[in-house]
């Protein structure tokens, strides 16, 4: 870039008139640069192609077949797997659970995390702010398997912490097998996930809030604006880029949920906590229906690709 800048003549003068050396023909130079660049990025492109795009297309091909893993036998069935998918109530239940997961995650990990970050950043004592940020971030540093076991103990119907607390405050009528009851199991898993992801989102929002000029708050305070209105009139509008990004990342993550369910209920009881990821796993690795599993994978891919494209478009428009 700097070389090119040196070769440009001053405005209004040709290169020769300006007495500057005439640059060599630029077209071949560009071509050379392009080829040099391609050589450098080729290993990355090959890796990307082999490990991302090729498996994606292969997966789509598998979704149009039934396959017997024991013999390697494959049979083309067209869109049969997709037709079965559309008529499968557990697939729709799983998709519904993913949507519920996304909805609750937006409320907790975007809205509540933003409010909490605002409150933390409004505190005057810097050391206390740092401690609070660390405390809220701590669950994100714990392995998901450990978190799953921890919550499984908390949700135990007999001797579990949650039922114990309800008993202690006289709400023993609300005690139940949180992960064993189809009505509460999915919510139990989602709340576990919120506990773990909430602090991470809070930290990201705190960083975004720190970038807002303090003058705006001081000026608004002089105008008599209180802390609540400051949140709605200054903080929320000025972290909207981060808010938008967090929403997309949160929704996209909600459609890729797998571990949270596997470490707690494996999709049970009675398939009430199946999400697309676990239903894919069960269809392939338990029921040996790999073509059907590939069709589920394609649906997940389409959903997450759409979200990723929105994210790319959003971040191109508004740099955070």
């Amino acid at each position: 870039m700097s070389t090119q800048e040196k070769t440009f003549p001053p405005p209004g003068l040709s290169a020769a008139a300006a007495g500057t050396p005439v640059p060599r023909r630029r077209k071949p130079a560009r071509k050379k640069n392009t080829w040099h660049g391609l050589i450098w990025v080729l290993p990355g492109l090959v890796t990307l192609f082999l490990f991302v795009y090729y498996p994606l297309v292969l997966n789509f091909r598998y979704s149009l077949e039934t396959s017997n893993i024991f013999t390697g036998q494959q049979r083309f069935v067209g869109l049969d797997n997709y037709t079965r998918l559309a008529a499968d109530p557990i697939f729709w239940k799983a998709l519904g659970n993913n949507c519920l997961y996304a909805g609750i995650s937006i409320v907790c990990q975007v809205f509540f995390a933003l409010v909490l970050a605002s409150l933390i950043e409004n505190l005057r004592n810097e050391r206390f702010r740092a401690i609070l940020r660390s405390v809220y971030f701590l669950p994100s540093a714990i392995s998901l398997t450990v978190t799953g076991l921890l919550f499984a103990f908390m949700y135990q119907p007999q001797g579990g912490l949650l039922n114990g607390l309800l008993d202690a405050v006289g709400l023993d009528s609300l005690q139940q097998a949180w992960l064993g009851n189809p009505d509460t199991a999915m919510l139990g898993i989602i709340m576990m996930s919120q506990w773990q992801g909430f602090g991470y989102c809070t930290l990201l929002f705190a960083v975004a809030i720190q970038r807002i000029p303090r003058d705006l708050y001081e000026a608004s305070a002089l105008d008599g604006i209180g802390p609540v209105r400051q949140i709605f009139s200054i903080t929320i509008p000025l972290v909207r880029e981060m808010t938008g990004l967090m929403m997309i990342v949160t929704i996209s993550g909600a459609f890729q949920v797998f571990n949270e369910v596997m470490v707690t209920t494996s999709g049970g009881p009675d398939n009430s906590t199946q999400v697309l990821g676990t239903w894919l796993y069960r269809s392939g690795f338990v029921k040996n229906d790999f073509g059907y599993a590939a069709a589920i994978a394609t649906v997940i891919f389409i959903i997450t690709l759409a979200l990723a494209l929105i994210q790319v478009r959003y971040t191109n428009k508004r740099r955070v």
Partner: protein, 439 residues
């Protein structure tokens, strides 16, 4: 954005082209080729995969070490996985045609998938009941891996399901060992009246309930009908005994357990520990787990414990002498480079001396006859094996004897029944639909 679309589209087109060029295997199942097992060359390696990671890993670790010491030219490549880890890994290895030389299997449809598709060596000539090796084993164990007169599997642990009971708690409630299902339910009532938890039960993983259903199906449905229905090609699941079994199971959960509708949220192993701690009077458990369920010095051991079969309902139309259980087993990959060496390794593992080691190291009773004694097993374990040999047949676990779709319908359906969201009729409708789909 347009550039992104172009890049994705271009990559997709090239990938589609390459996919088309890839080999699309459409070969049908091939019969396992005959292998020469008469001469063993003690050189090279033998790969082995088990599902005994963790507490039960010690036995195969010792076997690998001892076999290598006995045959210095041989290397045993041993992989041990957890139960679920094994289920996942073996499917990946199968799909990639990388099945180890010796690999674990459950009995029933699970094992048949391998030998029906030519992935297991026919061992009839070396392990059938009348051969030198086969004659050392309990015939029921070999039956579990025999299909159409051919024996494919090497049984390892002789596993069966029993109700263990705490003698002191039974005595405290004035209860004796029940002889039929009604007697069991009456015992539960008496135990509850004395504020004793009659039976501990956790069904978070689904299969604990299936073990009850396996035994009750054997009692309520004639054996011939069961055999027919467990194979999709001939299945109808029309016998009323199936629904009766589910209803009887629901009564056991309601009247004998305190977890009740919450059983789906309760872990099997924590309930097993509850029995060991003397907090429940009964627990339905595999004999392989006796040592884990009642550890040395535990309250249940101090109280004294014994076992009985899950009692049959009065007037049951099925086989009331059948017992739920199946041996764990191992298959030999038909494509193993040195199949004679793989077979020789399993002969070594199931020799009388090592069968005794199996019981003394991890508490598994071996199918090799006469290997349990006072020095390597508890009286309860020996009692279970004596009883098992009186069984008319072993009823293989419902979730491995049937095709995966039917097993899944049972697993999720029974969970729904426990939670109260499904009836026994709903479960049987789903089972029948899954079976029809598998035809």
């Amino acid at each position: 954005m347009k550039a992104l679309f172009k890049a994705v589209a271009a990559a997709g087109i090239v990938a589609v082209a390459l996919t088309g060029c890839g080999s699309s295997s459409t070969a049908g199942p091939a019969a396992a080729p005959a292998a020469d097992l008469s001469t063993v060359k003690y050189e090279g390696s033998v790969s082995v995969i088990t599902r005994y990671a963790g507490g039960n890993a010690a036995f195969f670790e010792k076997m690998a070490k001892d076999y290598e010491a006995a045959h210095p030219g041989v290397k045993v490549n041993l992989q041990q996985e957890s139960d679920q880890g094994y289920k996942d890994k073996i499917k990946t290895l199968t799909a990639s045609q990388n099945v180890p030389d010796v690999y674990f299997t459950w009995a029933g449809n699970y094992a048949e998938q391998f030998y029906d598709n030519g992935l297991a060596l026919d061992l009839t000539n070396v392990i059938a009941p009348k051969t030198e090796w086969g004659s050392t084993m309990a015939p029921q164990a070999l039956d579990a891996f025999t299909k159409d007169g051919k024996t494919y599997g090497v049984p390892l642990g002789l596993d069966a399901k029993y109700m263990v009971y705490n003698k002191k708690l039974f005595a405290d409630a004035g209860v004796s060992v029940p002889t039929d299902l009604e007697g069991l339910l009456a015992s539960c009532k008496s135990l509850k009246a004395k504020n004793i938890v009659p039976m501990s039960f956790g069904n978070k993983d689904g299969w604990p309930a299936i073990h009850y259903i396996t035994q009750l199906n054997s009692y309520n449905v004639p054996a011939g009908t069961l055999d027919k229905d467990y194979k999709p090609a001939t299945a109808s699941f029309d016998d009323p005994g199936y629904k009766q079994s589910l209803d009887q199971f629901a009564r056991i959960v309601d009247e004998c357990t305190t977890t009740g509708k919450g059983a789906n949220g309760t872990d099997y192993y924590s309930q097993r520990d509850a029995f060991g701690q003397g907090k429940a009077a009964m627990f339905y458990v595999e004999n392989l787990e006796f040592a884990a369920a009642v550890p040395k010095g535990s309250p249940a051991e101090t109280d004294g414990y014994d076992l009985f079969r899950l009692p049959a309902p009065a007037g049951a139309k099925g086989d009331t002498k059948a017992l739920t259980g199946a041996p764990d087993g191992f298959l030999i990959n038909s494509k193993a480079k040195n199949p004679a060496l793989a077979v020789d390794f399993m002969k070594f593992v199931t020799s009388k001396q090592n069968a005794e080691t199996l019981a003394s190291t991890i508490g598994f009773p071996s199918p090799v006859t006469g290997t349990l004694n006072e020095s390597n097993s508890t009286p309860q374990l020996r009692s279970s094996i004596e009883d098992l040999q009186k069984a008319s047949r072993l009823s293989i676990w419902l979730d491995t004897v049937t095709v995966p779709g039917v097993a899944d319908a049972y697993l999720s359906g029974v969970e729904g029944m426990i939670s109260g969201t499904k009836t026994s009729q709903d479960v049987m409708t789903a089972v029948k639909a899954a079976s029809d789909q598998a035809k």
